[in-house]
């Protein structure tokens, strides 16, 4: 783990109010990790919230053993998911090994990181493009509904959607190059 991260963790261990910085850095990653395994948005939010609450409570006991902080959070997340879905008696496959039985923690981190990068890039889009993305993909509204809500024509909303996706594609490719 890099030195900056270590300093951040030590700061938060000393003063829990500094936990906010760790949260800011890891929210998207944890959310993406959970979203890949848990069926619906409400459950993703519940699990993500629980992961961060558990991490906050367990932080004083966190030891630097060369494991990245994200990996520690993923392990908590894995446990929360297993716990929750075992308890609920759910039969749905939500184990870590769902699509890739031999997936290591490292490549897990990579996959979630890419998605987290995408989520962060959405936050950097111009406000009207971002609005369209949120309405279209989170709320899953039709172009017509969005046009009504944003007081724009349907054509303009589709244009914003295209621009947003083009911009995200370019930036994602730039990030992975």
């Amino acid at each position: 783990m890099d030195a900056d991260e270590r300093l951040q963790i030590e700061a938060a261990q000393e003063d829990p109010a500094r936990f906010g910085e760790l949260y800011e850095q890891h929210f998207e990653r944890v959310y993406a990790f959970v979203a890949r395994r848990v069926p619906d948005r409400a459950a993703v939010e519940d699990v993500t919230a629980e992961v961060f609450h558990k991490a906050l409570a367990a932080l004083p006991g966190f030891q630097f053993l060369g494991v990245p902080f994200a990996a520690w959070l993923f392990r908590i997340a894995g446990n929360v998911i297993t716990d929750r879905f075992k308890r609920a008696g759910a039969t749905r496959e939500v184990s870590l090994a769902d699509d890739a039985p031999e997936l290591s923690v490292e490549s897990e981190a990579d996959a979630s990181d890419r998605r987290a990068d995408l989520f962060r890039l959405v936050n950097e889009l111009p406000i009207d493009q971002r609005r369209v993305i949120v309405e279209r993909f989170i709320e899953q509204r039709s172009i017509r509904e969005i046009a009504g809500r944003l007081n724009k024509t349907e054509g303009a909303v589709k244009q914003l959607q295209l621009r947003a996706l083009q911009s995200l594609r370019t930036r994602m490719e730039g990030a992975n190059a």
Partner: protein, 481 residues
Amino acid sequence: MPERALVDRLDDAIQVTLAAPEAPVDRELEPYVIIARALRDLPRPSFRVRLKADLQRRTKMTAATESLQAVRQTATPRLRVKNAAAAIDFYKKAFDARELMRFSGHGQIAHAELAIGNATVMLGEEAPEYGFPGPEALGGSPVGMHLNVDDADVWVDRAVAAGARLITPVTDQFYGDRSGSVADPFGYSWTIATRVEEMSVAEMQKRMAALESERPPRASAFMPKGFRTVTPYLVVDDAPGLLEFTARVFGAEETHRSFSPGGPGGLHAEVRIGDSMLMIGGGSTGHPLGRPGMPTALHVYVEDTDTVYQRALAAGAASIGPPVDQAYGDREAGVKDPSGNVWYIATAKGEHYIPAGLHTVNVFLQPLRAEPVIKFMERALGATGVEKYVTPDGVVHHAKVTIGDSVVEMGEAHGPYQPMPTMFYLYVPDVDASYRRALEAGATSFSEPGDQPYGDRTAGVEDAFGNQWYLATQLRETRNA
């Protein structure tokens, strides 16, 4: 135009992807669709903000076991207010609210989320033109907000210090809460409660029954015989003089006179004119009122306007207008008595000299604008059956507002007819409930509900137009009808 075609084809592909993520797609569009699939998992921005606020709150506390409700509670109130920005500031001061987010559009706050304790409250600017009216536009909110806090006394004090109006002071309730309530400046009322004793519903029922049986037997009616809902209360410098004037001019019959040196002036009397009661009080010889009186405008129906008008002048009144036949069918005159009360003396030309629906004596208000006064009377005092005569240019020339079995008349101020704020003695079925409603409707309290030695439970409020309302419920029958 290939670009335009791409726009539409992409949206079609996205539509398919949203419905069936694994559906095959056009090669050219594949890179976008991969992104679109991932975006379905995009976190809600509000969730990200709220979870952070929740974590931050917890870092300030020692216990790490607080509920997760604020993160995503299933049901959340959404308040519509006029001036959302001011409301947010107020809730921060009054209830220690923390702003989680605000979203503005067209220069107004369309949506904001506050955390109060461990709960989320949403609010936004009202938009009556789009069908989202706030309490002000509706004349109040039927929904009450309830806060469960660790110390209701402290919270109510802080809310009042921030500008809330106290509606009920904090008291122990039979059902195990210690609670009070306040009205915020934006039209919502908040009950603030601390649980002091846990009990079953059966226990609550038992305690309520016990309370009811402890209560002394109530009078059979909430108003004494001979009284109606509305009784004007004329407070003047020379109460005996006014009593004599009403006796000489209108044949008023005095049914009660008492003197209690405590109050201003100290004289209190009740007289009957025709089918109506009047209360007259204030100063007398050696006992000045010590403050300005509250002269009142009254509409009095008599058998013969001309005779009564002459008697009034002989008794010292000044003429406002000699008797004339009015277009609407009354013969009417006006006088001002030596205490400053205005008497519109009238005889109806119909079957009876008192028109149907009115009484011998009717209060006549002359507010600058009638509409807000009527609104207040409807909301706070249960007024009904408003009849209005509005001129083409929008002036409310004459309105009759029914409260209980009485009518209050009004006409908007014009020329010499200027506002004369009036004191009312109003009989209501439940003085405490009426008092609360009046405060919620914007009145200020000058006397909290209390039992009076003369058998009524009364409270006093002043409306925004300067009228004073003694609200009363008869507890014991002490007056002889």
